[in-house]
Amino acid sequence: MTGPNGVGKSSLLRTLAGLVPPAEGHVRLEGGTEELTAFEHCHYFGHQDAVKPALSVIENLTFWQAFSQSVTPDGFTTGRMAPADALDGLGIGHTARLPAAYLSAGQKRRLSLARLLVTPRPIWLMDEPTSALDADSEKRLIALMNGHLLSGGLIVTATHTPLTLNKAQKLHLEPARDHPAEVPA
Protein backbone atom coordinates (compact mmCIF):
# COMPACT_ATOMS: atom_id res chain seq x y z
CA MET A 1 0.00 0.00 0.00
CA THR A 2 1.57 3.25 -1.10
CA GLY A 3 0.53 6.87 -1.14
CA PRO A 4 1.53 10.33 0.05
CA ASN A 5 1.76 11.23 3.74
CA GLY A 6 -1.57 11.73 5.45
CA VAL A 7 -3.61 9.96 2.79
CA GLY A 8 -4.88 7.35 5.26
CA LYS A 9 -2.56 4.34 4.99
CA SER A 10 -2.13 4.02 8.74
CA SER A 11 -5.84 4.65 9.31
CA LEU A 12 -6.70 1.84 6.91
CA LEU A 13 -4.31 -0.52 8.70
CA ARG A 14 -5.73 0.43 12.10
CA THR A 15 -9.26 -0.10 10.77
CA LEU A 16 -8.29 -3.59 9.58
CA ALA A 17 -6.75 -4.19 13.01
CA GLY A 18 -10.10 -3.41 14.64
CA LEU A 19 -8.67 -0.43 16.52
CA VAL A 20 -10.74 2.16 14.63
CA PRO A 21 -14.40 1.50 13.84
CA PRO A 22 -15.04 1.86 10.08
CA ALA A 23 -17.17 4.87 9.08
CA GLU A 24 -19.25 2.49 6.96
CA GLY A 25 -19.13 -1.15 5.92
CA HIS A 26 -17.41 -3.96 7.84
CA VAL A 27 -14.24 -5.98 7.88
CA ARG A 28 -14.80 -9.62 6.98
CA LEU A 29 -12.33 -12.48 6.64
CA GLU A 30 -12.88 -15.53 4.45
CA GLY A 31 -11.26 -18.85 5.34
CA GLY A 32 -10.40 -17.94 8.91
CA THR A 33 -11.28 -19.63 12.17
CA GLU A 34 -15.01 -19.16 12.57
CA GLU A 35 -15.34 -18.21 16.23
CA LEU A 36 -12.70 -15.47 16.06
CA THR A 37 -13.16 -11.96 14.69
CA ALA A 38 -11.11 -10.83 11.71
CA PHE A 39 -8.72 -8.72 13.76
CA GLU A 40 -7.93 -11.59 16.11
CA HIS A 41 -6.20 -13.25 13.14
CA CYS A 42 -3.91 -10.25 12.78
CA HIS A 43 -0.60 -9.08 14.10
CA TYR A 44 -0.30 -5.29 14.11
CA PHE A 45 3.22 -3.97 13.65
CA GLY A 46 2.86 -0.22 13.91
CA HIS A 47 5.08 2.74 14.67
CA GLN A 48 5.06 2.06 18.39
CA ASP A 49 7.18 -0.80 19.63
CA ALA A 50 5.21 -1.80 22.79
CA VAL A 51 8.56 -2.51 24.44
CA LYS A 52 8.74 -1.98 28.22
CA PRO A 53 12.13 -0.47 29.12
CA ALA A 54 12.00 -1.83 32.68
CA LEU A 55 11.69 -5.46 31.55
CA SER A 56 14.49 -7.47 30.01
CA VAL A 57 14.36 -8.26 26.29
CA ILE A 58 13.42 -11.89 26.83
CA GLU A 59 10.78 -10.94 29.44
CA ASN A 60 9.17 -8.57 26.97
CA LEU A 61 8.98 -11.25 24.31
CA THR A 62 7.93 -14.12 26.59
CA PHE A 63 5.04 -12.01 27.87
CA TRP A 64 3.66 -11.35 24.39
CA GLN A 65 3.99 -15.02 23.48
CA ALA A 66 2.03 -16.11 26.56
CA PHE A 67 -0.49 -13.28 26.25
CA SER A 68 -1.46 -13.28 22.57
CA GLN A 69 -3.64 -16.07 21.34
CA SER A 70 -2.06 -18.02 18.49
CA VAL A 71 -4.34 -18.60 15.50
CA THR A 72 -3.58 -21.28 12.91
CA PRO A 73 -6.47 -21.82 10.46
CA ASP A 74 -6.29 -24.47 7.71
CA GLY A 75 -3.69 -23.76 5.07
CA PHE A 76 -1.43 -21.76 7.39
CA THR A 77 1.58 -23.77 8.47
CA THR A 78 3.72 -21.95 11.00
CA GLY A 79 4.57 -23.21 14.45
CA ARG A 80 5.34 -21.30 17.63
CA MET A 81 8.94 -20.18 17.66
CA ALA A 82 10.77 -20.14 21.00
CA PRO A 83 11.53 -16.55 22.11
CA ALA A 84 15.30 -17.16 22.27
CA ASP A 85 15.33 -18.56 18.71
CA ALA A 86 13.34 -15.59 17.42
CA LEU A 87 15.83 -13.17 18.98
CA ASP A 88 18.77 -15.12 17.54
CA GLY A 89 17.17 -15.12 14.11
CA LEU A 90 16.85 -11.34 14.21
CA GLY A 91 20.42 -10.87 15.40
CA ILE A 92 19.66 -9.57 18.90
CA GLY A 93 20.07 -12.84 20.80
CA HIS A 94 23.02 -11.44 22.76
CA THR A 95 20.79 -8.74 24.32
CA ALA A 96 18.26 -11.21 25.77
CA ARG A 97 19.15 -10.60 29.44
CA LEU A 98 19.57 -6.83 29.14
CA PRO A 99 16.83 -4.42 30.19
CA ALA A 100 15.11 -3.25 27.01
CA ALA A 101 15.94 0.34 27.97
CA TYR A 102 19.49 -0.25 26.68
CA LEU A 103 18.39 -1.19 23.16
CA SER A 104 18.83 1.18 20.22
CA ALA A 105 15.82 2.22 18.14
CA GLY A 106 16.57 -0.39 15.50
CA GLN A 107 17.05 -3.12 18.08
CA LYS A 108 13.72 -2.22 19.74
CA ARG A 109 12.12 -2.44 16.33
CA ARG A 110 13.59 -5.92 15.84
CA LEU A 111 12.39 -6.97 19.30
CA SER A 112 8.93 -5.79 18.32
CA LEU A 113 9.23 -7.78 15.10
CA ALA A 114 10.14 -10.91 17.07
CA ARG A 115 6.65 -10.70 18.60
CA LEU A 116 5.21 -11.65 15.19
CA LEU A 117 7.33 -14.80 15.08
CA VAL A 118 6.66 -16.23 18.54
CA THR A 119 2.87 -16.23 18.16
CA PRO A 120 1.66 -17.61 14.83
CA ARG A 121 -1.10 -15.54 13.26
CA PRO A 122 -1.91 -15.64 9.55
CA ILE A 123 -2.25 -11.90 8.82
CA TRP A 124 0.45 -9.32 9.43
CA LEU A 125 -0.56 -5.66 9.30
CA MET A 126 2.67 -3.70 9.00
CA ASP A 127 2.99 0.07 9.01
CA GLU A 128 6.26 1.10 7.35
CA PRO A 129 8.06 -2.00 8.64
CA THR A 130 11.49 -0.94 7.36
CA SER A 131 11.71 2.30 9.35
CA ALA A 132 14.71 2.48 11.73
CA LEU A 133 16.21 -0.73 10.27
CA ASP A 134 19.66 -0.92 8.66
CA ALA A 135 20.22 -2.49 5.21
CA ASP A 136 21.13 -5.87 6.68
CA SER A 137 18.06 -6.02 8.94
CA GLU A 138 15.90 -4.88 6.05
CA LYS A 139 17.06 -7.87 4.00
CA ARG A 140 16.31 -10.13 6.96
CA LEU A 141 12.86 -8.57 7.31
CA ILE A 142 12.09 -9.15 3.61
CA ALA A 143 13.20 -12.79 4.01
CA LEU A 144 10.90 -13.18 7.02
CA MET A 145 7.99 -11.59 5.16
CA ASN A 146 8.53 -13.87 2.15
CA GLY A 147 8.74 -16.86 4.50
CA HIS A 148 5.43 -15.83 6.04
CA LEU A 149 3.84 -15.56 2.58
CA LEU A 150 5.22 -18.98 1.59
CA SER A 151 3.69 -20.67 4.64
CA GLY A 152 0.25 -19.44 3.62
CA GLY A 153 0.15 -16.09 5.45
CA LEU A 154 -1.00 -12.71 4.24
CA ILE A 155 0.65 -9.32 4.72
CA VAL A 156 -0.89 -5.88 4.38
CA THR A 157 1.86 -3.31 4.57
CA ALA A 158 2.11 0.43 4.08
CA THR A 159 5.48 1.45 2.70
CA HIS A 160 7.42 4.24 1.02
CA THR A 161 10.32 2.05 -0.13
CA PRO A 162 9.75 -0.73 -2.67
CA LEU A 163 9.81 -4.15 -0.96
CA THR A 164 10.85 -7.19 -3.00
CA LEU A 165 8.01 -9.49 -1.98
CA ASN A 166 6.73 -12.50 -3.89
CA LYS A 167 3.17 -12.20 -5.21
CA ALA A 168 2.69 -8.59 -4.16
CA GLN A 169 -0.35 -6.56 -5.16
CA LYS A 170 -0.06 -2.80 -5.06
CA LEU A 171 -2.73 -0.46 -3.74
CA HIS A 172 -1.96 3.19 -4.34
CA LEU A 173 -3.96 5.70 -2.31
CA GLU A 174 -4.49 9.23 -3.65
CA PRO A 175 -6.17 12.09 -1.82
CA ALA A 176 -9.68 12.82 -3.10
CA ARG A 177 -9.41 15.78 -5.48
CA ASP A 178 -12.68 17.55 -4.73
CA HIS A 179 -12.55 17.36 -0.90
CA PRO A 180 -8.89 17.14 0.08
CA ALA A 181 -9.56 18.51 3.56
CA GLU A 182 -11.90 15.66 4.47
CA VAL A 183 -9.35 12.88 4.09
CA PRO A 184 -8.54 11.64 7.61
CA ALA A 185 -4.90 11.66 8.65
Partner: protein
Amino acid sequence: MSGWVGALFVRELRLAVRVGGSGVIGVLFFLAVVTVIPFGVGPDLNLLARIGPAILWIGALLATLLGLDRLFQADRDDGALDLMIMAGRPLELIVLVKCLAHWMATGLPLVFAAPVLAIFLNLDPVAIAAVTATLLAGTPALTLIGAIGASLTVTLRRGGLLMAVLVIPLAIPVLIFGVSAADAAIQDPVPFMTPFLILCALTLVSAVVGPFAAATALRFASD
Protein backbone atom coordinates in the same frame (compact mmCIF):
# COMPACT_ATOMS: atom_id res chain seq x y z
CA MET B 1 -6.51 -19.97 29.62
CA SER B 2 -4.76 -19.49 32.97
CA GLY B 3 -1.35 -19.12 31.32
CA TRP B 4 -1.94 -15.65 29.91
CA VAL B 5 -3.56 -14.41 33.13
CA GLY B 6 -0.45 -15.42 35.07
CA ALA B 7 1.85 -13.90 32.45
CA LEU B 8 -0.01 -10.57 32.56
CA PHE B 9 -0.07 -10.56 36.37
CA VAL B 10 3.66 -11.23 36.65
CA ARG B 11 4.45 -8.56 34.03
CA GLU B 12 2.38 -5.93 35.82
CA LEU B 13 3.97 -6.76 39.18
CA ARG B 14 7.47 -6.55 37.69
CA LEU B 15 6.71 -3.20 36.07
CA ALA B 16 5.31 -1.86 39.34
CA VAL B 17 8.28 -2.81 41.51
CA ARG B 18 11.09 -2.02 39.07
CA VAL B 19 12.58 1.38 38.26
CA GLY B 20 9.86 3.85 37.31
CA GLY B 21 7.09 1.82 38.98
CA SER B 22 4.72 3.38 41.47
CA GLY B 23 4.88 0.74 44.23
CA VAL B 24 7.17 2.47 46.73
CA ILE B 25 6.12 6.02 45.89
CA GLY B 26 2.57 5.35 47.13
CA VAL B 27 3.79 4.25 50.56
CA LEU B 28 6.13 7.25 50.84
CA PHE B 29 3.29 9.59 49.93
CA PHE B 30 1.05 7.86 52.51
CA LEU B 31 3.78 8.40 55.11
CA ALA B 32 4.08 12.07 54.13
CA VAL B 33 0.33 12.74 54.39
CA VAL B 34 -0.08 10.97 57.74
CA THR B 35 2.97 12.56 59.37
CA VAL B 36 2.09 16.08 58.23
CA ILE B 37 -1.40 16.12 59.75
CA PRO B 38 -0.33 16.00 63.46
CA PHE B 39 1.79 19.09 62.77
CA GLY B 40 -1.28 20.81 61.38
CA VAL B 41 -3.83 19.91 64.07
CA GLY B 42 -1.45 20.13 67.01
CA PRO B 43 -0.15 17.59 69.55
CA ASP B 44 -3.55 16.83 71.16
CA LEU B 45 -3.33 13.03 71.63
CA ASN B 46 -7.05 12.53 72.28
CA LEU B 47 -7.99 14.47 69.17
CA LEU B 48 -5.46 12.51 67.08
CA ALA B 49 -6.80 9.19 68.38
CA ARG B 50 -10.34 10.27 67.47
CA ILE B 51 -9.59 11.39 63.92
CA GLY B 52 -6.79 8.85 63.36
CA PRO B 53 -8.82 6.31 61.33
CA ALA B 54 -10.11 9.09 59.08
CA ILE B 55 -6.59 10.41 58.49
CA LEU B 56 -5.32 6.95 57.58
CA TRP B 57 -8.21 6.42 55.19
CA ILE B 58 -7.80 9.78 53.46
CA GLY B 59 -4.07 9.14 53.20
CA ALA B 60 -4.71 5.74 51.64
CA LEU B 61 -7.22 7.24 49.18
CA LEU B 62 -4.77 9.93 48.05
CA ALA B 63 -1.86 7.48 47.83
CA THR B 64 -3.97 5.13 45.69
CA LEU B 65 -4.97 7.95 43.34
CA LEU B 66 -1.34 8.96 42.94
CA GLY B 67 -0.31 5.83 41.06
CA LEU B 68 -3.53 5.13 39.20
CA ASP B 69 -3.15 7.52 36.26
CA ARG B 70 -0.39 5.32 34.79
CA LEU B 71 -2.52 2.16 35.03
CA PHE B 72 -3.48 2.23 31.34
CA GLN B 73 -1.65 5.30 30.08
CA ALA B 74 1.81 3.68 30.17
CA ASP B 75 0.50 0.89 27.96
CA ARG B 76 -1.25 3.30 25.64
CA ASP B 77 1.82 5.49 25.17
CA ASP B 78 3.99 2.66 23.86
CA GLY B 79 1.28 0.93 21.82
CA ALA B 80 0.90 -2.08 24.13
CA LEU B 81 -2.76 -1.28 24.78
CA ASP B 82 -3.60 -1.70 21.07
CA LEU B 83 -1.94 -5.11 21.08
CA MET B 84 -3.79 -6.11 24.26
CA ILE B 85 -7.13 -5.24 22.65
CA MET B 86 -6.15 -7.34 19.61
CA ALA B 87 -4.76 -10.26 21.61
CA GLY B 88 -8.04 -12.19 21.53
CA ARG B 89 -8.48 -12.08 25.31
CA PRO B 90 -11.50 -10.61 27.16
CA LEU B 91 -10.66 -6.99 27.89
CA GLU B 92 -12.72 -7.02 31.10
CA LEU B 93 -10.53 -9.79 32.50
CA ILE B 94 -7.39 -7.94 31.41
CA VAL B 95 -8.57 -4.88 33.35
CA LEU B 96 -9.37 -7.00 36.42
CA VAL B 97 -5.94 -8.67 36.38
CA LYS B 98 -4.18 -5.32 35.90
CA CYS B 99 -6.14 -3.85 38.84
CA LEU B 100 -5.30 -6.84 41.02
CA ALA B 101 -1.60 -6.58 40.24
CA HIS B 102 -1.70 -2.82 40.76
CA TRP B 103 -3.36 -3.31 44.14
CA MET B 104 -0.78 -5.93 45.15
CA ALA B 105 2.00 -3.50 44.29
CA THR B 106 0.53 -0.25 45.66
CA GLY B 107 -2.51 -1.02 47.84
CA LEU B 108 -1.16 -3.91 49.89
CA PRO B 109 1.96 -1.99 51.02
CA LEU B 110 -0.40 0.72 52.35
CA VAL B 111 -2.22 -1.90 54.41
CA PHE B 112 1.10 -3.10 55.86
CA ALA B 113 2.24 0.46 56.56
CA ALA B 114 -1.02 1.46 58.27
CA PRO B 115 -0.34 -0.22 61.68
CA VAL B 116 3.03 1.54 61.92
CA LEU B 117 1.61 4.91 60.98
CA ALA B 118 -1.34 4.36 63.36
CA ILE B 119 1.11 4.47 66.27
CA PHE B 120 2.03 8.04 65.22
CA LEU B 121 -1.64 8.91 65.64
CA ASN B 122 -2.00 7.45 69.15
CA LEU B 123 -4.47 4.73 68.13
CA ASP B 124 -4.98 1.90 70.63
CA PRO B 125 -4.38 -1.73 69.51
CA VAL B 126 -8.06 -2.49 68.85
CA ALA B 127 -8.37 0.59 66.66
CA ILE B 128 -5.15 -0.30 64.81
CA ALA B 129 -6.49 -3.77 64.06
CA ALA B 130 -9.83 -2.34 62.93
CA VAL B 131 -8.29 0.27 60.61
CA THR B 132 -5.95 -2.28 59.07
CA ALA B 133 -8.84 -4.69 58.48
CA THR B 134 -10.97 -1.98 56.85
CA LEU B 135 -8.07 -0.88 54.65
CA LEU B 136 -7.46 -4.48 53.58
CA ALA B 137 -11.12 -4.86 52.62
CA GLY B 138 -11.57 -1.36 51.18
CA THR B 139 -8.46 -0.43 49.20
CA PRO B 140 -9.22 -2.92 46.37
CA ALA B 141 -12.45 -0.97 45.82
CA LEU B 142 -10.45 2.26 45.51
CA THR B 143 -8.22 0.71 42.84
CA LEU B 144 -11.15 -0.77 40.92
CA ILE B 145 -13.16 2.47 40.99
CA GLY B 146 -10.00 4.35 40.06
CA ALA B 147 -9.58 2.10 37.03
CA ILE B 148 -12.78 3.62 35.59
CA GLY B 149 -11.31 7.10 35.90
CA ALA B 150 -7.95 5.96 34.56
CA SER B 151 -9.55 4.43 31.47
CA LEU B 152 -11.71 7.50 30.80
CA THR B 153 -8.71 9.84 30.91
CA VAL B 154 -6.31 7.51 29.09
CA THR B 155 -6.24 9.62 25.93
CA LEU B 156 -5.49 12.88 27.75
CA ARG B 157 -2.03 14.22 28.40
CA ARG B 158 -1.71 14.95 32.11
CA GLY B 159 -5.09 13.36 32.76
CA GLY B 160 -4.15 12.52 36.35
CA LEU B 161 -5.85 15.57 37.85
CA LEU B 162 -9.04 15.06 35.90
CA MET B 163 -8.96 11.41 36.95
CA ALA B 164 -8.78 12.43 40.62
CA VAL B 165 -11.75 14.77 40.17
CA LEU B 166 -13.73 11.96 38.51
CA VAL B 167 -12.80 9.26 40.99
CA ILE B 168 -13.03 11.00 44.36
CA PRO B 169 -16.86 11.39 44.33
CA LEU B 170 -17.24 7.71 43.44
CA ALA B 171 -14.87 6.74 46.25
CA ILE B 172 -16.83 8.60 48.94
CA PRO B 173 -19.07 5.63 49.90
CA VAL B 174 -15.97 3.48 50.43
CA LEU B 175 -14.47 6.19 52.61
CA ILE B 176 -17.67 6.60 54.66
CA PHE B 177 -18.07 2.92 55.45
CA GLY B 178 -14.34 2.33 55.93
CA VAL B 179 -14.04 5.09 58.51
CA SER B 180 -17.34 4.28 60.22
CA ALA B 181 -16.37 0.61 60.59
CA ALA B 182 -13.06 1.62 62.15
CA ASP B 183 -14.81 4.11 64.46
CA ALA B 184 -17.37 1.48 65.44
CA ALA B 185 -14.59 -0.77 66.70
CA ILE B 186 -13.44 1.99 69.06
CA GLN B 187 -16.84 3.08 70.38
CA ASP B 188 -18.51 0.15 72.09
CA PRO B 189 -22.26 0.32 71.48
CA VAL B 190 -22.02 0.42 67.67
CA PRO B 191 -21.49 -2.96 65.93
CA PHE B 192 -18.33 -3.27 63.84
CA MET B 193 -19.60 -5.86 61.39
CA THR B 194 -22.48 -3.90 59.86
CA PRO B 195 -20.45 -1.12 58.20
CA PHE B 196 -17.59 -3.58 57.58
CA LEU B 197 -19.82 -5.95 55.62
CA ILE B 198 -21.19 -3.05 53.58
CA LEU B 199 -17.56 -2.08 52.85
CA CYS B 200 -16.87 -5.65 51.66
CA ALA B 201 -20.00 -5.49 49.50
CA LEU B 202 -18.78 -2.21 47.95
CA THR B 203 -15.50 -3.91 47.03
CA LEU B 204 -17.32 -6.84 45.43
CA VAL B 205 -19.64 -4.54 43.49
CA SER B 206 -16.73 -2.48 42.20
CA ALA B 207 -14.92 -5.69 41.18
CA VAL B 208 -17.84 -6.29 38.78
CA VAL B 209 -18.70 -2.75 37.68
CA GLY B 210 -15.12 -1.44 37.47
CA PRO B 211 -13.70 -3.86 34.87
CA PHE B 212 -16.78 -3.66 32.63
CA ALA B 213 -16.93 0.14 32.70
CA ALA B 214 -13.17 0.49 32.22
CA ALA B 215 -13.10 -2.01 29.34
CA THR B 216 -15.92 -0.15 27.58
CA ALA B 217 -14.08 3.15 27.99
CA LEU B 218 -10.82 1.63 26.68
CA ARG B 219 -12.53 0.30 23.55
CA PHE B 220 -13.73 3.79 22.74
CA ALA B 221 -10.36 5.29 23.57
CA SER B 222 -8.44 3.39 20.89
CA ASP B 223 -8.39 5.44 17.71
